[in-house]
C-alpha cells in the first residue's frame, strides 16, 4: 500500500547550534537508512516532535549535501520551543520536502538580488549556496539582509565569509542599533535604491515578514525590476503540506503545493487585501 503523505520518517539530531537568542539550527541525519532527502532551495519539511506536535520549517542547508538535513528555526511556539531542547542523537519525525522553491536555474544569465528579513534568510541560504556553486552562470549577485538588531543577525560567520568574496555583494542593515554598531541602520528596503544590479535583467528573491516583502516589492519596482521577475516566499497556517487540509489557502493558491515561493505578479491582487 502506498505510504500516506502524513506519515513521518525518523531522523536523528547530529548537532544543534544556537544562532541568536531565539533562533537555532539543527542538523539531522536519517535514522532509518533512507540516507538523503534531495530538495530544491526554498522547499520545506514538516518536523514532528514525539508527543508535542508538528510544524512546517523551511530547509536552510546546502542542496548539494542532501545527506544532512539542516533546519533553522525561531522559537515562537510550543513545538519550536520543545525542539530547541533537542540534543544530539535525539529523534524527530520528518515529512517532505514539500512545495515549489526559488527559480535558481531560471535566473541564469541575469543578476540576482536576494532580499531577506530576519529568519527569512534561512530559506534563502540554499539558493545562495546554489548560486555560488554555479557562480559563472549569473551576473551580479547581491544579498541585502535586514534584522531588528545586530544581535539578531543569522549565520554571522558565513555572512562575513560571503562579504569577503569578490563575486558577491553583501549588505546588512539593522532596524535599531547600539553605539558599537558601525553598519547600516534602517529597514532593509533602504538598501535597495543603491544596490548594484541591473534592474532590467534582475531576478529578485525575497523572504521576510509580509509587510517587509510588500515594501521590498515597491522599492524593486521603483528601480525598474519587472514584477514577473520578483519572487516571494509566503507563510500561512499549515497542517498537512500536501494540499488536503485547506489551511494554507491564500486566495486561489495553496501555499504548500503552489508555493511557498510565488512569482509576485500572481500574488499582487491578494497582497493588498486585509485578512486574506
Amino acid at each position: 500500500m502506498m505510504t500516506h503523505p502524513m506519515v513521518p520518517d525518523p531522523w536523528r539530531v547530529q548537532r544543534v547550534r544556537r544562532d541568536t537568542a531565539d533562533t537555532f539550527t539543527m542538523e539531522l541525519e536519517s535514522a532509518n537508512g533512507k540516507h538523503s532527502l534531495a530538495f530544491a532551495p526554498g522547499q520545506f519539511n514538516m518536523l514532528y516532535l514525539f508527543g508535542v506536535g508538528e510544524v512546517p520549517i523551511s530547509i536552510s542547508g546546502d542542496p548539494a549535501k542532501p545527506g544532512t538535513l539542516v533546519h533553522t528555526t525561531r522559537e515562537v511556539g510550543t513545538v519550536t520551543r520543545a525542539m530547541r531542547k533537542l540534543k544530539p542523537s535525539d529523534c524527530m519525525g520528518v515529512r517532505g520536502p514539500f512545495g515549489v522553491g526559488w527559480p535558481v536555474t531560471e535566473a541564469r544569465g541575469a543578476d540576482v538580488v536576494i532580499v531577506a528579513g530576519g529568519i527569512g534568510l534561512a530559506p534563502l541560504r540554499p539558493a545562495l549556496y546554489q548560486l555560488l556553486a554555479a557562480r559563472n552562470y549569473y551576473g551580479k549577485v547581491v544579498l541585502l539582509y535586514g534584522t531588528r538588531t545586530p544581535a539578531d543577525i543569522l549565520f554571522r560567520k558565513e555572512l562575513q565569509n560571503w562579504h569577503s568574496r569578490f563575486d558577491l555583494e553583501v549588505h546588512v542593515t539593522v532596524d535599531r542599533a547600539m553605539g558599537n554598531w558601525r553598519g547600516n541602520v534602517g529597514v532593509v528596503t533602504t538598501l535597495i535604491p543603491r544596490a548594484p544590479f541591473d534592474p532590467h535583467s534582475t531576478v529578485a528573491m525575497v523572504c521576510g515578514p509580509e509587510v517587509m516583502m510588500r515594501f521590498t516589492v515597491q522599492e524593486l519596482e521603483k528601480r525598474g525590476v519587472a514584477l514577473e521577475n520578483i519572487y516571494l516566499s509566503m507563510e500561512r497556517n499549515m497542517k498537512c503540506a500536501a494540499g488536503f487540509c485547506g489551511h494554507c489557502q491564500y486566495g486561489p493558491t495553496f501555499i504548500c503545493k503552489d508555493g511557498p515561493v510565488f512569482r509576485y505578479d500572481r500574488l499582487q491582487p491578494l497582497m493588498t487585501v486585509r485578512e486574506m
Binding site: A242, G243, Q249
Partner: protein
Amino acid sequence: MEEAKNLNPSILQRSQLDLLFGALAERGYRVVGPTVRDGAIVYDDVRSSADLPVGWKDEQDGGKYRLVRRDDQAVFGYAVGPHSWKRFLHPPLVRLWQATRKSGGFDVAAEQHEQRLTAFIGVRACELNAIQIQDKVFMGGPHVDSAYKARRERAFLVALNCGQASGTCFCVSMNTGPKAERGFDLALTEVLEDGRHYFVVEVGSETGAEVANALPLSPAKPADTAAAERVVTQTASQMGRSLDTTDIKELLYRNYENRRWDEVANRCLTCANCTMVCPTCFCTTIDDVTDLTGEHAERQQKWDSCFTMDFSYIHGGSIRPSARSRYRQWMTHKLATWIDQFGSSGCVGCGRCITWCPVGIDITEEARAIRQSEIAPQAAAKEDENGD
C-alpha cells in the same frame, strides 16, 4: 442478451427493492443508506428497505428543517439531510498513524485503513458531483490521500434521481442535478404513477452491471422511461433557490472589499455548521495526541472549518480574526477560488449550508447581493443622469 439488458434502462419493482440490498450484501458490501433518526434523514447502515425513510419528506428553508409525512409511500421522497457521503469517504475523525517511544527515538506505524466494500444507497446527483469534487482534492494533486483512495475505490454508488426538491435546493443553477449523469454504478428513478410503484434502473459501471444482473429486472418500456424523465423534469422545476453563476469567479475576485461582507458578518455566528454539512468542504486539522504514560502518540485528522479563529493562526495571531474575512474566505472559496484550484465550482447547490445555518444565511442571497451591489450603483448613477 444480458449486456443489451444492462445498457438500456430497466425496471425494478418497489416490492423487489430488498433484492438489491441482498445482492450487495452477498457481494460483501456494507450497505449504507438514508434512515430517519432524531427527526432528520441521516445516513447509516441499512439492511432492507424497511430501514429507509418510507413516506417521509423534508421541508427546508433558511435555518429550517422538518420531516413531515408524505401522502404516498415514496421511499426516497425527501431531498437531502444534514449528512453527506463525505462522512464515510472523508470521515470526521481518522487516525493516521500511531507512534511508540523506544530507546533513542520512536517507531511510527501507519494506520491500516479499512478495506471494507461499502455501498451507498440513494446518492443524489448533487452528492455525486460533490464526491467527484472531493476526488480531485484528495487524488488529483501532487499528493494522493491513500486512505481516501482506498475508501473511494471500495465504494459502490447507487444514485437516486430526485423526485422532490427542497426549499433550499439549487442544483439546476450549479448544473449538478437533479439527474445523475455520471459517476454512479447504478442510478434509480423512483416512479409512483397510476397505482404502480417502481424504479427505472440505469447502469453506470461494470460492477453496476454485475449487480444489476443479479436482480429480476425487466426491460423498461418507453412509457416507463418517459415517466422517469417527468419525475426529474418536475423536480428541476421545483428548485427553492437559484444562483446566477455568470462570471462568478471574476465577480467575487473583484469584490473582496465589498461592504456586504460586513453586513453578513453581523449575522454570521462563525459556528461552522455550513462547513460541516457541506458535501465538498474538505478542510481538516491535525491533533497529535499522547497517552498518559507518554510512551504512545498518535495523529488524528479531524474535520476543521475556516470559520474558526485557529484555522488561520500563525505565530503572532490569526490571519482572519474577523467574521467578515472568514465568511468571505468560505464563500469566495466555494464559488470562486475553487474554480482556479480544481477546475469546477466547490458548490453543488444542495442547499445544506442554507438549511443548517442557525440564522438562515443564504449563499444564493449573499451572491445575489454582491452582484446587485455592482449593478445598483450604476442604476443609481443612471437615475441621477435622467433626473438632471
